[in-house]
Amino acid sequence: MAYLIFTLSLLLIYVGLALALHIQFGLLGIANFGVVGFWGLGMYAMGVLQVQLDMSFVDALFLVLVLSIAVSWLMGWLVLRLDPQATLCATIAFAAIVSLLVVTEKWATMGVVGLGTIRYPFRIGGGTEYLYFAFLLAVVVGLQILVLRLHRSPTGKLLQAIRDNEELCASLGKNTFQVKMFWFVIASVVMCLLGALSAPLNQFLTPNMIVPSVTFAVWIALILGGKGHSLGAVVGVFVTFGLFDILIETYAPVSPELAVVVPNMKLFLYGLLLMAVLIYRPTGLLAPTTPPEHVWAEIRSAGIAAGRGAMTLFQNGKNAIQNPNTNQPADSTAAQENDGAADGKS
């Protein structure tokens, strides 16, 4: 049971990471392939501050927040003006730098020996893990509500518009770089803080936790669930992490010799799944939707406009019949229609 609660907590961390990535990639189109860099930075910063400097959880969390804002801002400044492929490479390089520094800076991180033990922020007998799980649940639910609200808000529409056509948004007077920067930093800080929150969960940190497969797991979850849908991140994490790491690794009757193969099998299948989704269903399981009321409003306004147009034509026609001297408007409309038809043919 203790192991299950640990895995469920980790699932929540992944949901949070996928939600942050949804803001970056799904809404803004920033291909951040350095998820594990931000997450690992937050986790190790928390570990170092707590173990080496003996700080309290809240103080350390505050310092991680400050550090993550600085790092995310610097990364945003470096990568956000780049071509999407260059952004992807630069963020991968960032994650690689973080994982290398964790190994080299032994005075702080203890290198490959590992860093521990990181305490929970509170201790209430046997229920600590459960309370911490509830705390993580509250954080992730809050994040999901934020994303849902963002989708409905004008800001969400602006982010999607920047993703689809940045030049157009800039020409309409939006400072697109500033908007991208703001939301990139918010999402990256969320990743760092989720890392800080997973430090007590893991208790003992080693450099082999900061591996590209973490980034990859978050990406596959988001792409599979639906990168443009507000619930895609949750669905994707449940289908990938929930299915493999909880159902199969916890409940499937696997013999010890097969158990060694399962993690490799998992990453193999993740890769296959990702390829299939990208080729055959690029939107993921949940296709991005426009809220129904919004669609109806559009249809209604289009209907009203069509009706008004018909009325005007009708009025013009009636005027033309009633007094033939002033039939100029009807003629010009007809001429324009002829022009249009000619254009269509050519």
């Binding site: 470096l78 999407p84 992807l88 390089a93 520094l101 080299t104 990453l267 990702l274 390829m275």
Partner: protein, 284 residues
Amino acid sequence: MSFIIDAIFIGVLQASPLILAAMGFTLIYYLNGFINFGYGEGITYGAYFASFLNLSLGMSFYLSIVPAAMMTGAVSVLTYLYVFRPAIRRGVKPAELIILSVGLSFVLRYGLILMVGAENVFLDEPPIAFFTFAGTGATSLQFIALILVFTFAFNLYWLIYHTGFGEKVRGLADNPDLAQVSGIDPHRVSISVWFIAGSAAGLAGIFQGVFALVNPLMGWNLILITVMVSIIGGVGSVRGALIAAVLAGILTAAITLVTKPLYAEVALLSAFIFILWRRGPRMA
């Protein structure tokens, strides 16, 4: 002065796999316009094919080089035919093609681990002669690797810049529509390019494997620096990739001589991010 000679010498020797990998990678990037992370697995597969021929079939190491490289080329062509070509035809955009290629690299890497296991493999090296040259030492194996690398590099260079085939490749990369109207078959040219690039990756893997050891993560460890070197060298410039790879090797060797090898990697990666930032929205 001896420090500079050491750095150049060690750098060029160590960089020989990187030179091959970067030149092959840049060809695919040039022709198809996306970064193929699956290319890194070509490096791993080359080393494993060589280890199969060398250890399981008992061939001599030197004899196994060419068949292993060609087998890797064939794998590369298969990934093009069954993964990337269908995806491009279905209109998958470059940014998503990269993610697709990362997915492919996971499939290839963990598929390999499922088949042969994740243990380190050591190639059966031929007897090594050690000799000194201009004050620094090197093994016969390193010299042969270096000669092969530069032969391959100059042949590739000649192929791209001085033959009809190279003209077709450059034509297709610069203006696919015009090239097709002029009667160039994009399908055949692409298959040749993916084969050449895959073979280059395979050769890189064989030398990387014989210099150190063979394991399933070797390609992933080398692909990031390969991508970096190719982008810095200029998209599609085989010449640029060659120069950038040699410079990266020398720089790594120089930093390694002063501090730890891992700091050299950190410095290179930081330099890479900085160069990308300096270039701005322009990729090449």
